[in-house]
């Protein structure tokens, strides 16, 4: 025994002061040195981007009508087939318009005494061969509309503001395709007529409604940018397609659309401002949904106007099957596959420690167990977020290019939406990873934990898109289960003033995007708290 000086090992840093950085470093080292986990995360990245790109590449244009638009053939394939509204969104702009030019400021007032219409036959089987008026029956679709409109010219997609009565939604003021303001409620009838007024002053148009023609209420004021000095103003009637929803066995909800028509009776048409003395012009803007629908009849200041079509934004995926249209959501279908890989890696990030007994060393080195779990969650969450960000950005950017190249119509999305969808996908994967880590800590068994997390996140979505459950039941599944988070992928907005089949299959979710992600966050927080409690109380 030599009596030399033995320097005992003293850690440079005191645990507890800045121990968390060391913990993070330790967990990061564990992650990056296990080859299987790095491979798993790479697989997650590749499938997240790859499946969406595959879907975009596999879908080729089939040149059918979409969203109720006219049938496109030949060279029309592969070009933007929808008129584009002032906001840049693709729109439906077809209605019967009885008009006169209005120069400068002025107003138009009218009394609407009735709104009636014709629907295609109720029996869906008869929808296959709708020939002539014999098959139709009286009735209105909920958003059948007629009233006053001031429009910046007669081309499809031009700016407009309109006051209208609707079948089921009372008086509305709508402008520029996407905006909708409610006026007086209730249906119109000869016993309970509605008075409507539109006033133009510069580029400002104000809408009023009244029950008696003397007491007026302002419904809304809109500014139509770039409104020319002479505008087209007058009466209109439109009636969106009648959609029969059917439960598609093993494939969610399907819809078949048939043209409908609406007829409105107007009285006491009065005008102020500079109008020509000549007669009114009646014609379709766009085209009728079916030939033979539409027209007007004038007797003094009484008018009867019949029309079909709609003035509204186009809803993605609402058209017939095989429509070559897609939204950003379609390119992110790989998220589900990536999710499974992420769940496996994140679960193993803790269960492997239990299996190898490493957890005892980990907890000896860092006795504050909650901090260990926090460090693990931070590391796996961040790694997944970065991988998800790269994958989602690649899928969205290249998917849209590939789709356009294939002749598929890509619904435009704003920069904000694009960013939200990309960052949201990454956040969804990261939070799912934290949830898997927490469940793995609670159960300590990889197989059970992986299955539980996959079943609660992915299966409710599958039940929503491909099952026998009615839409209401699958809606609830996508509200209350962790699968609600897929709402963050929704790229196309949902419009209450357009009756369409908003299903997860076509990229619409029952919850708002961030609300859906918040549901998953709540589950992850709950599981993480439970994991911290159990990790602290249980022997490792």
């Amino acid at each position: 025994m030599t009596a030399g000086t033995v320097t005992p090992y003293r850690p440079d840093r005191q645990a507890g002061r800045d121990g968390f950085a060391q913990l993070l470093h330790a967990e990061w080292t564990k992650f990056r040195t296990v080859r299987g986990w790095v491979i798993g995360m790479t697989v997650a990245l590749l499938v997240t981007a790859g499946i969406g790109l595959f879907a975009a590449g596999a879908t080729t244009s089939s040149c059918q009508s979409a969203g109720g638009g006219p049938t496109r053939t030949g060279s029309a394939c592969g070009t933007a087939a929808f008129p584009v509204g002032p906001g840049g969104v693709p729109v439906d702009d077809s209605f019967y318009f009885v008009r006169q030019p209005l120069t400068g400021n002025g107003s138009i007032t009218v009394q609407v005494t009735s709104l009636t219409g014709l629907l295609p036959p109720a029996n869906p089987n008869a929808l296959v061969s709708p020939n002539g008026p014999a098959d139709t029956r009286p009735g209105l679709v909920p958003w059948a509309k007629a009233g006053l409109i001031i429009k910046n010219g007669t081309s499809q997609g031009s700016a407009y503001a309109a006051m209208m009565v609707t079948a089921d939604h009372g008086v509305r003021m709508q402008d520029n395709y996407t905006n909708d303001t409610a006026g007086q409620p209730g249906a119109v009838s000869p016993a309970s007529p509605r008075w409507l007024r539109l006033t133009r002053s510069g580029d400002t148009i104000t809408g009023y409604d009244s029950a008696d023609g003397t007491h007026w209420t302002q419904v809304g004021t809109v500014h139509l940018a770039g409104l020319s000095s002479t505008v087209q103003a007058g009466l209109f009637a439109a009636s969106p397609e009648y959609t029969v929803e059917s439960q598609n066995f093993g494939g969610g909800t399907n819809g078949s659309s048939m043209p409908s028509q609406a007829t409105a009776a107007f009285d006491h048409v009065t005008r102020s401002g500079t109008w020509p003395d000549g007669t009114w012009t009646g014609a379709y803007i766009g085209a009728a949904d079916a030939s033979g629908i539409g027209g007007y009849h004038q007797a003094g200041d009484r008018f009867t106007v019949t029309g079909s079509g709609d003035i509204a934004p186009v809803i993605a995926g609402s058209g017939n099957e095989g429509d070559p249209d897609s939204t950003l959501t379609d390119y992110l279908a790989g998220t589900f596959a990536g999710l499974i890989a992420v769940i496996v890696v994140a679960t193993m990030f803790i269960t492997a420690e239990y299996r190898r007994g490493l957890i005892r060393i980990t907890l000896t080195a860092s006795p504050q167990r909650g901090r260990v779990l926090a460090a693990k969650a931070l590391v796996i969450g961040s790694v997944t977020f970065v991988a998800g960000l790269v994958a989602a950005a690649a899928a969205v950017i290249f998917g849209a290019q590939l789709s356009r190249h294939k002749g598929t119509y890509v619904f435009p999305a704003s920069w904000a939406t694009e960013l939200r969808v990309i960052a949201g996908t990454a956040a969804l994967l990261a939070i799912a990873a934290v949830l898997a880590l927490a469940i793995g800590t609670v159960l300590r068994r990889s197989a059970a934990a992986v299955t539980l997390v996959i079943v609660v996140i992915v299966l409710p979505y599958i039940m929503g898109v491909a099952s026998v459950l009615p839409a209401s039941a699958s809606d609830w599944l996508l509200r209350i289960t962790p699968a609600a988070a897929f709402a963050i992928l929704q790229a196309a907005p949902q419009y209450p003033q357009v009756n369409a089949i908003y299903t997860p299959t076509s990229g619409y979710f029952p919850l708002a995007p961030w609300a859906g992600l918040a549901v998953l966050c709540a589950y992850a927080a709950l599981a993480l708290s439970l994991a911290v409690v159990l990790l602290s109380r249980r022997d490792a």
Binding site: Q247, V450, I462, V465
Partner: protein, 282 residues
């Protein structure tokens, strides 16, 4: 000593005798392993409870209002729980082999039973048998729940929805087929788990293989060729056609053909598992 071990049925060659006793001993050993841990029993109970509960909930969620024409495959609806139950079958089948790898038990097993294919065969027979037994109860319970719930929701015999009964040919085919479906899922999972060894990875692969196909079908719906291919050859989409009792003409693949596709997947997975187990060091 060796005589005691190889005291198989008389009248067989020594090699054949060893083969028969090998499988019998392997079965006995595997049965002891399964019987003496609590996991498998819980999983089988969970399979029954989850399948029946989900089936009953799905059936209770669907109504056929008076005066409307409903085209609902009530048998398939009553068997919705299979989609969830198969996840538990996958856990059970994966753990039968991967638990041995994670504890190192596999080295003892293979030392005691050098005929590795017999070990895998014994595991396959046992897990498939257990799943068949529990699956029969689960499917029976699901149909019974449908029989009780459906008439109250407008699906009455008077409106063309006879009570769920095994005397009905297509219903019997759907019921028996669903039990077989679960057993095939077990074999598929066992084969995959034998190849990859780790339970988390194996479960991820199995559930990904099963659950991703309907999602991918829904996104490539614009391309009839690819969606048709997927519906015909993906294990879950094809296998579950065995549950269809109406609209059989519109199916992408016939019910038994679909189950056959799943059987092919299971066979390939088991074959791969058997070969890898034979060639690889444990």
């Amino acid at each position: 000593m060796s005589q005691a071990l190889h005291a198989g049925p008389p009248g067989l060659s020594v090699a054949r005798r060893a083969e028969v006793t090998g499988l019998r001993d392997a079965l006995h050993a595997e049965w002891t392993k399964l019987r003496t841990v609590s996991g498998p029993a819980w999983l089988l109970a969970g399979l029954i409870v989850l399948t029946v509960a989900v089936s009953a909930a799905a059936t209770a969620a669907v109504r056929c209002p008076t005066g409307t024409a409903c085209s609902v495959d009530t048998t398939k609806l009553s068997l919705t729980g299979i989609e969830f139950g198969q996840a538990i079958v996958a856990i059970l089948a994966v753990l039968v082999i991967s638990a041995e790898y994670s504890t190192g038990m596999i080295r003892i097993t293979l030392a005691a039973m050098p005929r590795r294919s017999a070990v895998l065969a014994a595991k396959a027979v046992l897990v498939a048998g257990l799943v068949l037994a529990a699956g029969t109860i689960a499917v029976g319970g699901s149909l019974l729940a449908g029989r009780i719930i459906l008439p109250g929701h407008g699906f009455t015999p008077a409106r063309g929805f006879p009570l769920e009964s095994l005397a009905d040919g297509p219903t019997l085919r759907a019921a028996a087929g669903s039990v077989l479906y679960l057993a095939l899922i077990a074999l598929l999972s066992l084969g995959i788990a034998t190849v990859v060894r780790d339970s988390a990875v194996a479960i991820g692969l199995v559930l990904g293989l099963l659950y991703l196909s309907p999602i991918i079908v829904s996104v490539v719906a614009g391309d009839p060729v690819w969606s048709h291919r997927l519906e015909r050859y993906a294990p879950m989409s094809a296998g579950l056609t065995i549950q269809d009792t109406i609209g059989l003409r519109g199916l992408p693949i016939s019910p038994w053909g679909g189950l056959g596709v799943l059987a092919a997947w299971a066979a390939v997975a088991m074959l791969a598992g058997g070969l890898v187990l034979r060639w690889r060091d444990a």
